[in-house]
């Protein structure tokens, strides 16, 4: 997903910030995930360990020297190898996403820098419940969090509310559904806006405050961390819903895309 979002920056550590330098990656694999989203697996030439929720900046250069830059959240777990996954939605009027969907091929070289972002981060010690809310490709940084939680065998109760137009548009659907079956501490709720959902626990409408309140209620305790990612409109509804459910503004972290 394109975040072009609120968070950016190399991770600030006690010792100060590192500079993330540009590196050249090779596209190792491309997978069509949904009708409009493909995953791109990029082999890093200079491997890094990111924190779930972080993104990379991708830079494309035209023969005339024109440079286009976009930020993409990392979908893969930090525990994975030196290959990172970006899931990119094709925006019809886009400049960079149509290049990825229509032109980029396995073996192509892509420049990127990262990991970036020092705010929208999976907590270092996740003990209190976590609520994740995403729309469409907004689930990408949340998926990195879910995958990291699983890779570290964390048991922190976690709920994901994911809004998509149709069942076929649900990004990472198979992985999320099987994870929910395998992990009693992980709750998945889909909000399917343009067709009836397949499961009784899912919603057949756009996100609203009542839906957020119900997700909060499905967790054993009030969440201590809320991560919301999607369009500005979606994020505002989700964040307002979380506030109305009694959550403190300080625990709600958002990433909005657009631009």
């Amino acid at each position: 997903m394109v975040i072009r979002g609120a968070s950016s920056g190399t991770l600030m550590t006690e010792g100060g910030a590192r500079s993330a330098s540009w590196q050249t990656c090779a596209i190792a694999e491309i997978i069509q995930r949904t009708p409009s989203i493909k995953s791109y697996f990029l082999r890093l030439s200079e491997p890094f360990a990111h924190i779930a929720g972080q993104h990379v900046d991708v830079r494309l250069t035209a023969p005339d020297g024109y440079v286009a830059m976009r930020s993409y959240s990392i979908a893969s777990s930090p525990s994975a190898s030196n290959v990172i996954e970006l899931a990119i939605e094709r925006l019809p009027d886009g400049e960079v996403s149509p290049f990825f969907h229509d032109i980029a091929a396995v073996g192509d070289k892509i420049e990127l820098r990262g990991p970036l972002g020092g705010h929208f981060l999976w907590p270092e010690r996740a003990t209190a419940p976590v609520l994740l809310i995403g729309a469409g490709s907004g689930v990408v940084p949340l998926m990195a969090m879910i995958r990291q939680r699983r890779a570290l065998a964390q048991t922190v109760p976690t709920a994901l509310l994911l809004s998509s137009r149709t069942q076929r548009d649900v990004l990472f659907a198979d992985e999320l559904l099987s994870l929910e079956l395998a992990d009693p501490k992980f709750t998945l709720a889909l909000a399917i806006t343009r067709e009836p959902p397949e499961r009784a626990c899912d919603f057949a409408r756009r996100i609203d405050s009542a839906m957020v309140a119900e997700l909060v209620a499905r967790l054993p305790r009030m969440p201590a961390h809320v991560f919301v990612c999607g369009s500005n409109r979606f994020v505002n509804i989700a964040a307002d819903g979380a506030l109305m459910a009694g959550l403190d503004a300080a625990v709600i972290k958002t990433e909005r895309y657009g631009g």
Binding site: G9, V67, A68, A239
Partner: protein
Amino acid sequence: MITRGFTGRNSGGDQSDRIPPGQHLVEHFPVLTAGPTPRVETADWKFTLKIGPRHIKVWNWSAFNALPKTKMTRDIHCVTSWSKLNTAWEGVVVDDILADAGVEPPTDFVLAHCYDGYSTNVPLADLASGKTMIALNYEGQPLPRDHGGPARLLVPHLYFWKSAKWVNGLQFTERDEAGFWELRGYHKYGDPWREQRYTND
């Protein structure tokens, strides 16, 4: 490195000399915020000028609106790579705020503070000389809540995270103190023409 098969939209056209490196033009006005959008009523709104911990002057909405208003049309550049040309603002330039408070700037560094706990640092030299304002109107209308209404800082010559939304005060600091994003990896100064996006850029 030239990217195989990429030609780009190069949307700048005749205005490409107004678009900093790595930026692309947008027509709409993206909204990017790290948390929930605060609700601030003008009846409750206050703006505080501080020197260190010391309150120098506090304005309410009507007192602040009685200050001289200035219009400014500027190009703006977001670190996330969009740029928007000819944005029209109206508000109170920072020099007029300092004049109304009757203070000579005691230090060279300022932190802007906001209702949502956000902060950002801007050197005095960049804030003063009519270059920046506390913006109250955008395109002739009261500033929408999504864009920082009722009031935001406007520092158009730096990356737009410096133009703090829901601003409620300026504070002179002894040293150049990092703000919210500056503590989380953004560049301390943020000049789009030098592509100062992240720390050490």
